[in-house]
């Protein structure tokens, strides 16, 4: 277990070094959430287009956009892994005696760092748009855990796809086809009750829905969450474990 953590951290630390050395990408990734929350959110709140109960639409939307940022920045890991494969980095990692699980988990932790940066960005936007945020320790730790878990899920999912398609061109196509439906077939920008029945069923099988549900309860004062926190966390953790197990099996095939 100590070995697993040491190796995972060694892989994840690389990401941390790169993020601090060249933060331009973090800035560019902050643009999209601003558009959603400041433009899209404000307009829909103004026309009262979507009924979201006591909390206003922008407050309702904020956790959804955090979940979306986590999804979009984590999905990028598949491309990064294909790039590493083309450079021979994957081969070098796999020739090392490190546990295959460490190599995969290390990537998930790397994605977690990015997710946390996104969370900071969203909180800053939320402060600027005067969303009423929860600031108790339980809520903050809960959000941290949710963001790390969500980043782990979607980056590992992306890694699995990368291991299957193996080329950048194919990944680009599939990445688009997967991320948009994950986003729209979730409760990120509208509540489940507004969905037609079939879509609600799809949304309830979508891990992003559970992430949004968690964040909605934990981030926003008076935010409504459909499931108990424990249920949301359990679902996310189970999905993460399954994806990790698949990724550990598939990752070595990248070097073949």
């Amino acid at each position: 277990m100590r070995r697993f953590l040491r190796e995972s951290f060694a892989v994840a630390r690389i990401e941390l070094i790169k993020l601090t050395r060249d933060p331009t990408e973090l800035v560019s990734r902050a643009v999209q959430p601003v558009l959603w929350l400041v433009v899209f959110g404000q307009v829909l709140a103004h026309v009262h287009g979507i009924y979201t109960g006591e909390v206003g639409y922008v407050s309702f939307l904020t956790p959804g956009i955090l979940a979306q940022s986590v999804l979009f920045s984590a999905i990028f890991y598949g491309i990064a892994v294909i790039w590493e494969r083309d450079l021979g980095v994957v081969h070098k990692l796999l020739v090392s005696p490190a546990l295959r699980a460490s190599l995969v988990f290390g990537k998930a932790v790397s994605a977690g760092f990015r997710g946390l940066v996104q969370a900071v960005v969203i909180y800053l936007i939320a402060l600027a748009t005067q969303v009423s945020l929860r600031a108790d320790a339980g809520a903050i730790f809960g959000v941290l855990g949710a963001v790390l878990l969500g980043s782990g899920i979607f980056s590992t999912f992306s890694l699995v796809i990368a291991c299957i398609v193996k080329t950048r061109e194919r990944f680009m196509g599939i990445g688009q086809v997967l991320t948009m439906p994950l986003f729209f077939a979730s409760n990120a920008i509208y509540p489940l009750e507004l969905m037609p029945r079939w879509l609600r069923i799809v949304a309830q099988a979508n891990p992003l829905t559970y992430l949004v549900d968690l964040l909605r309860g934990l981030m926003i004062r008076g935010g409504e969450h459909v499931h108990a926190y424990a249920t949301d966390f359990a679902v996310l953790l189970a999905v993460f474990c399954v994806l990790l197990a698949i990724a550990v099996k598939l990752y070595p095939t990248l070097a073949e």
């Binding site: 190796e7 951290f9 070094i17 021979g88 081969h91 796999l94 020739v95 005696p97």
Partner: protein
């Protein structure tokens, strides 16, 4: 579980090693024995099976049939034990340009589980050995091609492996950088007694560096021997190029597929 170098057993031993990709047999029942402490060259045109051989021996690719032992351990049943005993430098420049030389080595040190107390010293030694001590804190993307290669050698030797695998180690390097890489490889052999397996399609490299070579042709070993021995067998004036043409039925530069060419060009571009 005998340690190969002590008992005199081969450092690398393949028997009937075979790998098929669909209908194509990339490596076809290859028998090979590499002695401890020698620099051994696998020669062949692109597509002859060199890279597939190397991937199997480094545990990256499971064989379709046959077996091999590396450092005394079976590549299929004991891959973790094999990995601890080998170092590997891929053909592509795999050092991370966004990190410093030191950071690249630290990653290896951690993945190979070197004790924390020894890490800094071992990294310093490896960088010094490869003539990179002054560049340790610089980003690798500012290195020359030869420096990147030497950094990768430092990375591969950091855990003092018994056997080093190098895939086209000097491809795309200028003559000065090539010679500096060769010198370092000879030093690794003489100072640490490392066994070195390289793939190459460069006759000059094979001649200058290798104690013995095997010429691969369409997945089979056409001939094994010392470079001078192989030349001598063909006639007093024979060059290694002619030896190659004789056994592989064509020039070394022929053959190759699109993907291989793209890969080579990409490496060369990164080096330039």
């Amino acid at each position: 579980m005998n340690a190969s170098s002590e008992s005199g057993a081969p450092a690398i031993e393949a028997s009937a090693l075979t790998r098929r990709f669909g209908a194509l047999t990339a490596v076809d029942r290859v028998d090979l024995a590499v002695r401890p402490g020698e620099i051994f060259g696998l020669l062949g045109a692109n597509g002859a099976g060199k890279s597939t051989m190397m991937k199997m021996l480094t545990t990256l690719l499971p064989p379709s049939s046959g077996s091999a032992r590396v450092g005394g351990f079976d590549i299929v049943r004991e891959p973790a034990a094999v990995r601890r005993r080998i170092g590997y430098v891929p053909q592509l420049l795999s050092a991370d340009g966004a990190l410093t030389g030191f950071e690249n080595l630290r990653l290896s040190a951690e993945l190979y589980g070197l004790p924390r107390s020894e890490r800094a010293e071992r990294i310093g030694d490896a960088l010094g050995f490869m003539g990179l001590a002054d560049a340790a804190r610089k980003l690798v993307r500012t290195y020359s091609g030869g420096m990147v290669r030497r950094l990768e050698l430092a990375q591969a030797m950091l855990h003092r492996p018994a056997i080093l695998f190098l895939d086209e180690p000097t491809i795309g390097l200028d003559p000065v950088a090539r010679h500096s890489v060769w010198d370092r490889l000879r030093d690794l052999k003489s100072d640490y007694g490392m066994t070195v397996l390289i793939t190459t399609h460069d006759m000059e490299e094979a001649e200058a560096l290798c104690d013995r070579i095997a010429i691969l042709h369409t997945g089979r070993v056409a001939v094994v021997g010392r470079p001078d021995e192989l030349r001598g067998a063909l006639g007093p004036e024979a060059t290694l190029d002619e030896v190659f043409a004789h056994y592989a039925g064509g020039g070394i530069a022929e053959g190759g597929d699109f993907a291989g060419t793209v890969r080579t060009r990409r490496t060369v571009r990164r080096l330039g």
